[in-house]
């Protein structure tokens, strides 16, 4: 079995296990929180493709997520589009935006990319929040084109409420699980394919990779477009799942939460983002009682992980395995050299 087949099998196995959760757990809170885990995990798995595998430190992921969410909400709110149609449209719009962003970032490197993408996200946020002119005037009050500070609500549903009655959240759970599973399999295929190797080569030694005929232009646009699709889709699903979208999706603490997931789990590893997302969801749950101290805890986790384990928990684990195999390999007596 190749590494790619092994990883995909593992992924399907985990998904199968996760599919059992709503059957076992009667607690609605567990199921809905796990649905949120699926959304965040989808975003970080795809962010990891850009940041970890491609080595491009883009901070636009939450903006792409927001584009998916806002497109879905606006289509539903203004045109009454069915959510099943609006979700992929949101994802495709995120792809278009991301490819344009990839073009803009082409000549930049390192922290400049982070600054540019942060600025772009901030422009989107400010345009939405500062727009106070009424676009329509529904009974609930003035509504700017992009929802303003208030955002959108009541724009549509996936129809699980009619289908499953009070158990509608279970339907959403499986949609979330399906999105994460597909996003994860795509990420594995990309990482374990010639394309993934090209990304890593361009990340590790751009000059040598270029000399080997790898086109940075082509690959960078690919990676920006590909990861934006699932990020946008996750955003669309987030909109449908929570039933409300507001400028809070742009907030810095959201970005920080997701960034911490990648860092804690392991940048550039296949399983790192998922592990990180799982751990941080638990950590957040544990720190829920602490109120404002939660942010201090998140900050500490981030700093400690960046300083002490740059490749995250999965990286640490891989190093441990390598160290052990190296030790056992040395334990085998080397063939004695013939003395001349």
């Amino acid at each position: 079995m190749t590494a790619r087949q092994r990883d995909i099998t593992l992924c399907l196995l985990f998904s199968g296990l996760a599919a059992l959760l709503p059957l076992v757990s009667e607690v609605r809170y567990t199921v809905t929180q796990t649905t949120f885990f699926f959304i965040w995990a989808t975003v970080v798995v795809q962010w990891n493709l850009v940041f970890g595998i491609g080595g491009i430190f883009s901070l636009a992921q939450m903006a792409l997520f927001a584009i998916g969410a806002y497109t879905t909400a606006m289509l539903g709110y203004y045109f009454g589009t069915s959510m099943i149609l609006a979700m992929p449209i949101g994802a495709l719009l995120a792809v278009l935006f991301s490819v344009a962003l990839g073009l803009a970032c082409l000549k930049l490197r390192g922290p400049y990319v982070a600054l540019l993408t942060l600025c772009v996200a901030q422009v989107l946020y400010l345009t939405i929040v500062n727009d106070t002119d009424c676009f329509t005037n529904p009974p609930s009050g003035c509504m700017p084109l992009m929802g303003g500070v208030r955002g959108f609500s009541r724009f549509g549903d996936l129809g699980f409420r009619e289908l499953l009655g009070s158990g509608f959240y279970v339907g959403r759970y499986y949609v979330g699980l399906a999105i994460l599973t597909v996003a994860m399999i795509v990420s594995i295929i990309v990482i374990r394919s010639p394309m993934g190797l090209a990304f890593q080569a361009l990340r590790d030694n751009p000059v040598y990779a270029a000399a080997r005929g790898m086109d940075r232009f082509k690959y960078q646009l690919w990676i920006f477009g590909l990861s934006a699709f699932f990020t946008g889709l996750a955003g669309s699903f987030y909109a449908v799942n929570t039933g409300a979208v507001g400028p809070v999706v742009f907030s810095f603490s959201h970005l920080l939460f997701l960034l911490s997931m990648i860092i804690v789990g392991g940048v550039g590893t296949i399983w790192g983002p998922i592990v990180g997302a799982l751990l941080l969801m638990f950590a957040e749950e544990a720190m829920r009682e602490l109120g404002d101290m939660r942010d201090i805890g998140m900050g500490l986790i981030l700093v400690v992980c960046v300083v002490l384990m740059p490749r995250g928990i999965v990286g640490l684990f891989e190093d441990l395995v390598r160290w052990r195999t190296a030790r056992t390999a040395h334990a085998v007596p080397l063939p004695r050299r013939e003395t001349v």
Partner: protein, 292 residues
């Protein structure tokens, strides 16, 4: 005519405040390739420390300012010792320090929030009264900010050009290994640069809050603007960033007058995006010998 002068006057005040906070960022980036994302939180800390010393303990204003500057400088040194130093030689230093300092910023900001609460507070260090010159209204506070900024920038420029330690900082910025081989103590230079940057952030926090008010997250906007200025000038170029700060300040005042306050920041950001795409090394940045 009066309107133009008035816009110019308030633009220069804005630019002077930006210059103080930008100089610190540019210095740190120039010397050690470090984008300090906790700069905004240090700035807020400086403002609150002077509030605590002057408003809470009743110390005279200059003492409060010195106290804030010293504590923030110490925070800079701590960031170097605890966060930056362990990863200084690692391959992805630029990205890792960027992320780590985001964490530091969040911690500092949350501590401020816990200690002082979320309500806006007035900055006690300020100068009341104003002066009307040729039809232009000039509060003493704005004049003082302009004066302090010019004084600080001149002192920083002098220190960098003429003193022994300034030469060490510039040598480190140009080539770390060569500077080290010439006997420059790199660790000392880095700690010093972060201390200067922290101190400047404190001054900038006090001046900014004296015109508006103190809030735990007040540093976020000035920091983003300081980054914008750094980028427009070319990261790490100190004289360029001071010029760019004044330019951006005046530009912001004009945009606020012509288009209204709510669009000014978004327009600034669009300006940066255009500069970054068109001239990635900034307007004043030297084109480094980056292969590829």
């Amino acid at each position: 005519m009066d309107t133009i002068l008035q816009i110019l006057a308030s633009g220069l005040t804005l630019g002077a405040m930006y210059a103080i906070s930008t100089a610190g960022l540019a210095l740190v980036f120039g010397a050690m390739n470090m984008l300090n994302m906790s700069h905004g939180a240090i700035l807020a800390l400086g403002g609150y420390l002077s509030y605590f010393a002057v408003g809470g303990m009743g110390l005279p204003a200059p003492v409060g300012v010195v106290f804030a500057v010293l504590v923030c400088a110490a925070v800079g040194v701590l960031i170097y010792q605890i966060v930056a130093r362990p990863m200084l030689r690692s391959a992805n230093f630029e990205t890792r320090i960027f992320i780590a300092t985001i964490g530091v910023g969040v911690i500092l900001e949350s501590i401020i929030l816990e200690t002082f609460g979320p309500q806006p507070k007035p900055q006690p260090v300020s100068m009341p009264g104003s002066l009307t010159l040729a039809g232009v209204h000039l509060p003493y506070q704005n004049l003082m900010i302009l004066g302090i900024a010019m004084l600080l920038m001149a002192a920083l420029g002098f220190a960098l050009q003429k003193t022994r330690i300034g030469r060490a900082i510039r040598a480190t910025a140009q080539n770390r290994d060569a500077a080290q081989l010439m006997g420059v103590r790199i660790g000392y230079v880095y700690a010093l640069v972060l201390a200067i940057s922290g101190g400047l952030a404190a001054v900038s926090g006090i001046t900014i809050s004296s015109l508006s008010s103190l809030l735990p997250n007040m540093g976020a906007d000035p920091m983003l603007k300081a980054f914008i200025i750094c980028v427009v000038a070319g990261l790490g170029s100190l004289p360029g960033s001071v010029m760019a700060a004044l330019f951006i300040g005046v530009l912001e005042a004009i945009v606020q007058y012509v288009f209204g306050v709510r669009f000014s920041f978004a327009l600034l950001l669009i300006l940066v995006i255009i500069v970054l795409i068109g001239r990635p090394q900034g307007v004043f940045g030297r084109v480094q010998g980056v292969r590829l």
